[in-house]
């Protein structure tokens, strides 16, 4: 690991620290994600292995963070450490939205649109390669402020899916962006779970506030039901057979414009398709890219 000079710590994840570093040979700035190995126990954590193997597969898309290399090194105690070498991105969508919230300004419409398009494109690429992200949220979307590019990161929970898709572990998504079928304990879920998250992020880009900020699974569901109406068999066939289904207070669907007032008609239509209750009818990332909302976006440089 002498090839890199650590400049500063920029973050700390579940499995270790992230540094901004300079590659000595080229002067290039990179992000080093350091992964501790469980001391003397079980070697490389499975989530790290999964992230590496999936990034190895997806790293060619402009909207997926690029894994440049994997290096083995030793820490001070002589234990093996893995470094994932990523391209460096200067911010993430969470920080970006927060900066607008504190200044009181709105995110310019064309920028929100461009970011959304890039997000859909990255997600479409993942899905096209048989990979679910499972943890899309503003914090995991890295950005280059100057170029206004967005890249999907943190594929630690991602996994390649096989068709038919079934029985993934629960307890994976951050609650706020978690799809209702996951909250209700569906055992078969698919690409639609990512599209729900994309919808939540879309609304947040417009209002600068999380759309459904629940702090427990039940509360998360109630947030959703209050806006979109309590689902029933007619709106979502099969919903009452899901494992965690109970009787809930009955809300009628509200117009999305009450929650996301500054979005135009096309935007609201796209958002409503992303937040469709029935997963199989939720819009796909690829179809979303074709939606009229993006018609006036200059896509040539994206």
């Amino acid at each position: 690991m002498e090839a890199f000079e650590k400049l500063e710590k920029v973050g700390e994840g579940t499995y270790g620290k992230v540094y901004r570093a300079r590659e000595k040979a080229t002067g290039k700035i990179v992000a080093l994600k350091k992964t501790r190995l469980h001391e003397d126990e079980e070697g490389v954590p499975p989530t790290t292995l999964r992230e590496i193997s999936i990034l190895r597969m997806l790293s060619r898309d402009p909207h997926i963070v690029r894994l440049m290399d994997v290096k083995q090194g030793q820490n001070k105690e002589g234990k093996t450490v893995l470094y994932l070498v990523f391209e460096y991105m200067d911010t993430d969508l969470k920080k970006y939205i927060r900066s607008f919230r504190s200044s009181g300004e709105s995110i310019p419409v064309n920028i929100a649109k461009s970011l959304m398009y890039q997000l859909c494109k990255g997600v479409a690429f993942c899905h096209g390669h048989g990979v679910l992200h499972r943890d899309l949220k503003p914090h995991n979307l890295l950005m280059d402020k100057k170029m206004m590019t967005l890249k999907i990161a943190d594929l630690g929970l991602a996994r390649a899916f096989t068709v038919p898709i079934k029985k993934y572990t629960h307890e994976i998504l951050t609650l706020w962006y978690r799809a209702p079928e996951v909250l209700l304990g569906a055992t078969h879920y698919s690409t639609a779970v990512d599209m729900w998250s994309v919808g939540c992020i879309f609304a947040e880009l417009v209002t600068k506030q999380a759309l459904f900020p629940g702090d427990s699974e039940l509360q998360q569901l109630l947030h959703i039901f209050r806006l979109l109406g309590t689902p029933n068999e007619k709106m979502w066939p099969g919903v009452s057979k899901l494992m965690n289904w109970h009787e809930y207070p009955q809300w009628k669907p509200q117009s999305l414009s009450t929650a996301v007032p500054n979005l135009d008609k096309d935007g609201l239509d796209l958002l409503s398709q992303m937040l469709h209750y029935e997963p199989s009818r939720r819009i796909s990332a690829k179809a979303a890219m074709e939606h009229p909302y993006f018609d006036d976006l200059n896509k040539t440089c994206l």
Partner: protein
């Protein structure tokens, strides 16, 4: 692990047979021949199978482990990477990559149970260290595709579901060879279906025609598999032991 084979790194990593049957210089110096090389790898497949039965992992974990092991030996010598350690370490790594983690401790326990021979004795630390070396040797490319899923779909399509067990067994046996490093998995599945239909006297000609695959490739794979079965009969315990004893020789 993933759904799209054609865009995968597995597809890009397919090798020519000539690049697979290469005995590395340190092994050659010990007198290991291509035949010995194949025999030892085959023996290690059996080893991975036995271990896998004890720790109870799915078929695809076994298949992935075998694929890792075979990939490692396209790049590394057996003199430097002892097969008797590489085999369990590949199973360990494959179990993680396929999301059905097996404890290193459990592996060590069953290794002792299966083999009394000292040469198989490795502890947890060895397995963990070898895991890292294997990751490097594989250059961290861990996603592997297998014929099993295509097999199920293809049998359904051909209306040959009654042949599932027979063809599944054939696919299992293909891992005793290097086919998975050389051919796309669905063609291996088709070759097994082809063998089954000839063997059980089913007319599948029109079905194969509709698939629009290169039948020559399918038939060639089928011949390779049948050749393997033919040669398999002449493999004796002595030949395996002899191959392993060469490995133990100091060059």
């Amino acid at each position: 692990m993933a759904a799209n084979f054609w865009t995968s790194t597995h597809y890009k990593q397919l090798l020519d047979p000539e690049d697979v049957d290469v005995v590395h210089p340190p092994d050659r110096e010990r007198g290991i021949t291509v035949e010995d090389f194949k025999l030892i790898k085959m023996q290690m497949v059996t080893y991975i199978w036995k271990l896998a039965q004890h720790v109870k992992v799915r078929q695809r974990v076994i298949a992935t482990a075998v694929t890792y092991m075979r990939r490692v030996y396209t790049r590394k010598s057996m003199s430097e990477y002892d097969p008797r350690l590489v085999a369990p370490a590949c199973l360990y790594l494959a179990a993680k990559a396929e999301e059905s983690t097996v404890q290193a401790k459990a592996l060590v326990f069953y290794i002792k149970k299966i083999y009394a021979d000292e040469k198989y004795r490795y502890d947890m630390k060895d397995i963990l260290e070898m895991e890292m070396k294997i990751l490097e040797a594989l250059n961290y490319y861990l996603v592997v595709f297998h014929p099993y899923r295509s097999l199920t779909h293809l049998l359904q399509d051909a209306g040959m579901e009654d042949m599932t067990q027979f063809t599944w067994g054939l696919v299992n046996d293909t891992y005793k060879m290097d086919l998975i490093l050389v051919h796309p998995p669905h063609l291996i599945a088709l070759a097994c279906i082809y063998i089954a239909s000839v063997y059980k006297d089913r007319d599948t000609t029109s079905w194969f025609e509709e698939l629009r695959v290169d039948m020559n490739v399918v038939k060639n794979i089928a011949v390779e598999i049948l050749d393997f079965y033919e040669n398999h009969r002449s493999i004796t315990e002595e030949r395996v032991t002899a191959a392993f004893s060469k490995l133990a020789l100091k060059a």
